[in-house]
């Protein structure tokens, strides 16, 4: 049986506003996580960034790591998430969050360091930083929001925009014969030896959001346990720039995004029976003598 949960309480800033409305005898079942500040998200109404921000904060709360967590904010819609989390935060240049996270983690290996990035940030301008932080096996946690568009700048084609998807900079639809194909990050990174865990999740329904939380928590737990680089790709929506209601955006996500970006675990070294990414990498290179030097010492 699981350990008894500590009672859920309101964050201090909601005590007056919300707490005063709670009658005696009423118990709180769900509330804002403490790792979130009272700052109002700058996201558009119905934007799924907010859901994922909350999941990250809940994981920080539940793992009890707020005091040692350092988050890296990207450039893009979540640029101001340094204001949303109660842990220490650094705002990085566009695409450079994994490099900044590397710097922090190397200085304070006992801190929990996460990067929160969108698709333009992680899969376009920051591809090099992403791939190399992953292949170095940096013991960091990366939360990747893939909503197939540049939101902050007003809806331009993203590295993950779907074939024929109309955006501001692909007004006739993404022409793959001219601009190529979307990048499938989870699949790409799962080939790298430094990677311990990659899962693609989404947030269009209760069940999917709960699964997303499980994945994010595992990605943090992996870091705490020193398992290796962990990334969770969240297939998300951008109602504003997709030009849809939040509800229709979820349907479009189910109809178009999920077939192109299948959900699931793409790499999980612990599920494969390894203690960490390094052990899995050694096994994969078992026929390479130089890669085996020092093994078993």
């Amino acid at each position: 049986m699981a350990a008894p949960k500590t009672p859920i309480t309101l964050p201090d800033y909601q005590q007056e506003r919300i707490g005063s409305q709670i009658a005696e005898g009423e118990k709180i079942k769900s509330a804002r996580p403490h790792a979130l500040t009272d700052a109002i998200f700058n996201y558009c109404p119905g934007c799924t960034h907010g859901i994922v921000n909350r999941l990250v904060a809940e994981c920080i709360d539940e793992l009890g790591i707020e005091g040692k967590t350092v988050g890296i904010a990207p450039v893009g819609c979540s640029v101001m998430c340094y204001d949303f989390f109660n842990c220490d935060m650094i705002e990085a240049a566009h695409g450079r969050a994994p490099a900044v996270a590397t710097g922090v983690k190397r200085v304070h290996p006992d801190n929990v360091v996460f990067a929160y990035q969108g698709d333009g940030d992680l899969a376009s301008i920051g591809t090099a930083e992403t791939v190399h932080a992953a292949t170095r096996g940096e013991k960091i946690t990366v939360i990747f929001i893939n909503n197939a568009i540049y939101g902050m700048t007003g809806g331009q084609m993203a590295p993950t925009s779907l074939p024929n998807q109309v955006t501001q900079t692909s007004p006739y639809g993404r022409d793959v014969s001219k601009v190529g194909y979307p990048v499938r990050i989870a699949e790409l990174l799962s080939t790298l030896d430094g990677v311990a865990y990659v899962e693609r999740v989404t947030c269009d329904s209760r069940a999917h959001i709960l699964q997303a939380k499980k994945a994010i928590k595992k990605a943090f737990q992996n870091q705490i346990d020193g398992v290796g680089y962990s990334l969770v790709e969240v297939v998300a929506t951008c109602p504003t720039n997709w030009g849809m209601t939040p509800q229709d955006a979820f349907q479009w996500l189910r109809d178009n995004m999920l077939p192109y970006y299948p959900l699931g675990v793409y790499k999980d070294v612990t599920a494969d029976g390894f203690a960490n990414a390094a052990e899995a990498a050694l096994e994969r290179a078992k026929d390479c003598p130089i890669a085996q030097q020092g093994r078993g010492e």
Partner: protein, 68 residues
């Protein structure tokens, strides 16, 4: 008895909670406008709220507190 409390400071009236609610007990309150200018979510059928927290889980602005 379960119910929800909506934090008007955070609610942006996107309606995701309304469409996600399995019991259909939520609506956007057309009578009220939040300081940010949105019609906030409201529990309109308290009798049938089961406290499942689906609204909380779906809310992108973490504006909902669920109490029982």
């Amino acid at each position: 008895m379960a119910r929800i409390i909506v934090d008007d400071v955070h609610c942006k009236g996107c309606g995701l909670c309304v469409s996600a609610c399995p019991k259909g007990v939520l609506a956007l309150d057309q009578e009220r406008i939040t300081p940010k200018g949105y019609h906030p979510a409201k529990l309109v059928d308290p009798e049938h709220c089961i406290g499942c927290s689906t609204c909380f889980i779906t809310c992108p602005d973490v504006a909902i507190t669920v109490v029982m």
